[in-house]
């Protein structure tokens, strides 16, 4: 049977990057518990538009947990009160009738607010541009099966590669560190023979870029791993540190 609930929403509203933001409260009624969190926000926005008001701006695209666009801080948790989900995969059955839900953007020095709940995450692209790739051009590469790769390594690389670049790890971290994100890419590529060649240099360049862009230091609190929607493990940070040390030794 379909169940519906009524909610109060406390939503961060901020007109643009330089404006001063504040919370606003809204009521939404008869929300089906089968609807997703973002569908609930769609209903709120439809309501606001019908009242001739500006809808709440939030990022989203795929709505199935893979593009990394959605990025809400719900009741004090990045991606809200469920484990291993993105905001778009969060469903209203996780909430109780009459509850007040607080919705904020990611808050971190590395991710300035653009409008309402939308932040600027271009820093992640810059970090990848600093070295998050294998330096190979199009064409002239060996056959895909020329180099066997042990299944365990391929699987482990895949787990690290499943990072969606959402930034929840940064939002969860009291230091605003991007180490989990950086380590996921460094690990994936270091685990594969194709990426191993540049592994140390890659680690050094990506970490340097991360520091330059205002992300904090990692103090191993582990908060990132808990909130990561893709279960990226902090074991990757240890691997990053090893590669980083190698690079330092080579210097």
């Amino acid at each position: 049977m379909e169940k519906t609930i009524n909610l109060t929403l406390k939503v961060w509203r901020q007109a643009n990057a330089t404006a001063k933001g504040a919370f606003e409260s809204y009521e939404v009624k008869n929300i089906s518990t089968d609807s997703s969190f973002l569908e609930m926000l769609d209903i709120l926005n439809e309501q606001l538009i019908n009242e001739n008001k500006e809808p709440v701006a939030f990022d989203h695209d795929c709505r199935e947990g893979i593009c990394g666009m959605c990025s809400l801080y719900v009741n004090g948790r990045p991606h809200g009160p469920d484990d291993e989900v993105t905001t778009c995969q969060l469903h209203m059955r996780k909430f109780k009738d009459g509850e007040t839900i607080t919705i904020e953007p990611w808050r971190s020095a590395g991710f300035p607010v653009i409008k309402d709940l939308i932040v600027n995450r271009n820093a992640f692209d810059s970090i990848i541009a600093a070295g998050g790739y294998v330096s190979v051009g199009t064409g002239g590469v060996p056959d895909g099966n020329a180099m066997p790769i042990p299944k365990v390594d391929a699987d482990e690389a895949m787990d690290a590669a499943s990072c969606i670049g959402c930034g929840a790890c940064v939002a969860a971290c009291k230091n605003g560190s991007a180490m989990l994100f950086v380590s996921a890419k460094v690990s994936q590529l270091a685990l594969l023979p194709q990426g191993k060649v540049e592994a140390a240099r890659r680690a050094k360049n990506m970490v340097a870029k991360m520091d330059e862009l205002g992300f904090g230091n990692c103090t191993n609190t582990g908060a990132c791993e808990v909130e990561c929607p893709k279960g990226v493990s902090i074991a990757n940070i240890a691997r990053l540190n090893r590669e980083y040390l190698k690079a330092k030794c080579l210097d």
Partner: protein
Amino acid sequence: MIKLDSKIPQGPLADKWTSYKNNQKLVNPANKRKLDVIVVGTGLAGASAAASLGEMGFNVKNFCIQDSPRRAHSIAAQGGINAAKNYPNDGDSVFRLFFDTIKGGDYRAREANVHRLAEVANSIIDQCVAQGVPFAREYGGSLDNRSFGGAQVSRTFYAKGQTGQQLLLGAYQALMRQVNEGTVKLYTRNELVEIVMVDGKARGIISRDLVTGKTERHFGHAVVLATGGYGNTFFLSTNAMGSNVSAAIKAYKKGAAFANPCYAQIHPTCIPVHGEFQSKLTLMSESLRNDGRIWVPKKKEDAEAIRAGKKKASDLSEDERDYYLERRYPAFGNLVPRDVASRAAKERCDAGFGVGATGLAVYLDFASAINRLGEDTIRARYGNLFQMYEKIVDDNPYKEPMMIYPAIHYTMGGVWVDYELQTSVKGLFCLGEANFSDHGANRLGASALMQGLADGYFVLPYTIQNYLADDISTPRMTGDEKEFIEAEKAVNDKLEKLLAIKGKRSVDSIHKELGLVMWDFVGMARNKAGLEGAIEKIAAIKKEFQTNVFIPGTNDGMNIELEKAARLEDFITMGELMARDALNREESCGGHFREEYQTEEGEALRQDDKFAYVAAWEYKGEDQAPELNKEELIFENVELKQRNYK
């Protein structure tokens, strides 16, 4: 009348591409630096093209509407990518991949393009491995393959259920390397809103910075569109919320023919619609049909009891179940092509055998696979898909079968392009799902990723040189030329006009209305009366939009409703075009099913003597009917047959 010259090279099919490459014009390195190329889109097609062109030394400007190129809709592709490597030694070859793709497309694609696609497919796998894409592997360390619909060999490479993500990240990383080298400049949250024509050639674009709301003028010696498909015309589809048809419609309005708009693919395995607040539909990858068996109850009473919540799937014994795909198509079984599987599901549900609360669902059951292989193997193969299903539906698919129903997923039609991927507008190219070239009337699974990357890595980087070679002495324009200034002004005037309507309805509410008309009359089964009615209904929706939409806010700064409104205007144009094309095509083929044209067994009935052509529609002005141009399809290497998967 547009002159449609497909520019297919002479010679035997298997030699055409080689001979093209041997004879085409090239641009030397010093001249490449002098040439600017605009690439719109950062999906598989756009990112691979931008990265490759950057590596070659062109100056590339690359645009996307998301905050990062990595978030293009391609990221969501789940199942895999085809190639004819024949690693499993099961009889695959370039010719077979070509043949399956032509047949799967119901003989409505160009032989030469499809053969080229099959030829370059193997290089894609090599390229991606070299980039560090973590494809699934066997214990011996070699690449693993699975099978997909419409093929009897295992030729699909995959990375868990996240193949599109991994391929896109590979292309994105290659792209970011070029950004770092300075050959590619990225413009994120920046939308193409007009194409600028100078002396009959595409010479640039007007874009809108979605954060500031300001328009910008960008020059390019050539413009490449890789902006994805138009599935969201239906509002509900498996496409990402931001997927849109606006760039293709701008091209159409500038004289690029739009080919086969009615060919839309309905994917058989999506999570059923659950309420009117629904914002999108979620795909359950076709790869699941490798191990899942599709069925409905044999008896109507059982189906009714299930709908009423009085019985569960697991209450029915084997002989109370109708595995209707295995029954109707013993040779291909659950792995028939998508169009066939979708129609078969609709047929059962319309006949009263559907399950789920609405009766618009069938089962996809893993019980026998779990018995045979164990839960761990199934988890390793599809774990993330099962988790995704459980989070949405709140039901454990390891215990109870999944419920699925068809949904709009992919569009085979698109901007008409010749063999060089150039549209009928000079200097304007189109890649990936946005063009029409390779899939005919139906796309086989795992072939879109293949096509996007083929276009971007291995086709366009060659063919665009043949065009640019004649342009090496064309100086860069500044963007202050009158064509740019006028185009920019027209864009801003139009946005102000939309804002000034100040009606009563939200953009989404009108878009949903359009979507329902599309689904009901231009969806899985179409007929003359329905299509004629749809064209009238769409005209009424257009009027409603133009007079009664309400867009809050202004053109200054970020305004998401304004972005959506501008895109909806183009979806309305697209919807009408789809209906007109479907009305014109008096046959059934692939994803286009006209109820008047079916065999006694309910299979699609083509009319090869009348419709073996590409329908390329030409824009004739606002509120004018578009003009139909035909490109005859010539088949020299395959024999046209009724597809048979029995």
